[in-house]
């Protein structure tokens, strides 16, 4: 396994632990113990930590200690405002440009989404959500947009939506994913845009309510 892919794995694990709440805000993150936990050497862990810091999941406390960042309501609003701009643009393009292969792949992801919601599998839902939104951005055929989205700071906080929502909320997100795929198949850019706007708005409101409760 290459060092780069180890660093990618460490980054993904760390980010999901932070966004999912397994690593609570203000917890100190220590390179050595994280390396032990993930059972990999420290160099890739260090890279993952730097990347998480760069993307705003970690911040520096007193004496340079690395702490899990506590997202604020303002940051969450900024994130979703920006995602709305990027993703409404992406679905409009995807409605014209998506390939049959990509639609079939989306069908599979949505089917997995339905199974995950029945099984109450939060991690699975979060991972599928990322894949579905990611594939739609890829289908926009704007590689620059794809690159911007994948490095979007704080993006992983969206994944936490599934944990703060109710069962009904989760079922609704999955139904919206399915509807969105149908609209892309029909090439209906206007309705797809309206739907993703409301989809993201619901996620944002749930996350903001979750923040207020903490």
């Amino acid at each position: 396994v290459s060092r780069d892919s180890l660093a990618d794995t460490a980054y993904a694990e760390l980010r999901s632990a932070i966004a999912g709440g397994a690593l609570a805000p203000d917890t100190q993150v220590v390179e050595a113990s994280l390396a032990g936990m993930l059972n990999i050497s420290r160099t890739p862990v260090r890279e993952a930590l730097r990347r998480c810091e760069l993307e705003g999941y970690l911040k520096r406390g007193d004496g340079g200690r690395l702490l899990v960042h506590r997202p604020t309501a303002a940051e969450m609003r900024d994130l979703f405002y920006t995602r709305e701009l990027l993703e409404t643009y992406a679905v409009r393009l995807a409605a014209e440009r998506i390939s049959e292969e990509e639609l079939v792949r989306l069908d599979e992801l949505v089917a997995a989404d339905r199974r995950a919601v029945k099984a109450n599998a939060m991690d699975e839902l979060a991972s599928l959500n990322e894949q579905i939104h990611g594939l739609i951005v890829t289908a926009s055929r704007n590689r620059t947009l794809d690159a911007l989205m994948s490095g979007l700071p704080g993006r992983a906080y969206g994944l936490h939506t599934f944990a703060v929502g109710t069962n009904d909320d989760r079922a609704r997100f999955v139904a919206q994913h399915e509807e969105l795929v149908g609209l892309l198949r029909d090439g209906d850019a206007d309705s797809a845009e309206t739907l993703i706007r409301s989809h993201l708005g619901t996620a944002r409101d749930l996350l903001l309510a979750g923040l207020a409760e903490r």
């Binding site: 780069d4 993150v29 220590v30 390179e31 050595a32 050497s41 420290r42 160099t43 260090r46 890279e47 930590l49 730097r50 990347r51 810091e53 760069l54 520096r60 340079g64 200690r65 690395l66 940051e75 900024d78 994130l79 405002y81 920006t82 701009l85 990027l86 643009y89 704007n142 590689r143 620059t144 947009l145 690159a147 911007l148 994948s150 490095g151 979007l152 700071p153 704080g154």
Partner: protein
């Protein structure tokens, strides 16, 4: 002693500015044209030339790959990416998507950042100067108060600077048009008029887009 061992006995977490510095240095080298476009860069060379260790060098290089400024080359190393007309179009379209929104937000809120910006001498610099142009666009996005949005605008502008996209040998008429665009945007911000800020920024970026696409197709 290897870095690994030093870390094992030293303070666990150290500040990360090295990678950021490495990124900035590499970006400046690319922007200045000191690295020729067909030169292959390796982690090792970059680390040596900037007198830094390899981990921050690698991290900075990977970030430039993510930004689309470098490609990793099969067999190791990195090469400067040549922007295709399609890349240029995507780039311009995204600036058109994000920057008018940011300008409208900046106009809508009375923030000290905006007042500071409007008070600077920067505004009297020629718009055809790419460094000035980038500073102004990034400063406006930052005055939007939305850090995520501003970060994207910064990334796009830095990317353009790395590729020296805006060195079009503007004739003076085009230069004057771009400068006029800046003045109109600034006037809209001064009068705290979000709709006008949106419209003037869009118009300015459409002109840039037209110029760049013309150049990309004739290059």
């Amino acid at each position: 002693m290897a870095t690994e061992e030093l870390d094992a006995i030293g303070p666990i977490d150290r500040p990360a500015p090295l990678a950021q510095q490495a990124y900035e240095s590499i970006r400046h080298e690319l922007m200045s044209g000191r690295w020729s476009p067909d030169e292959r860069l390796t982690e090792h060379d970059v680390a040596r030339r900037l007198s830094i260790s390899r981990t921050p060098a690698r991290e900075a290089l990977r970030r430039l790959v993510l930004m689309g400024s470098l490609d990793s080359v099969p067999g190791g190393g990195y090469a400067q990416r040549t922007l295709t007309p399609r890349d240029v179009r995507e780039h311009c379209d995204l600036r058109l998507l994000l920057e008018p929104e940011a300008a409208a937000l900046a106009a809508a809120r009375a923030r000290p950042e905006l007042d500071a910006l409007l008070g600077t001498d920067d505004l009297r610099q020629p718009a055809a100067d790419p460094a000035h142009d980038m500073r102004l666009h990034v400063a406006i996005a930052e005055a939007s108060g939305n850090a995520v949005l501003a970060g994207l605008v910064r990334t796009l502008n830095e990317r353009a600077a790395v590729h020296r996209l805006y060195r079009h040998g503007h004739d003076s008429r085009v230069g004057a048009q771009l400068e006029d665009g800046h003045l109109q945007i600034v006037a809209a911000l001064r009068s705290r008029d979000p709709a006008a800020a949106f419209a003037t920024m869009s118009e300015h970026l459409r002109l840039e887009r037209e110029l760049l696409l013309m150049e990309a197709s004739t290059a």
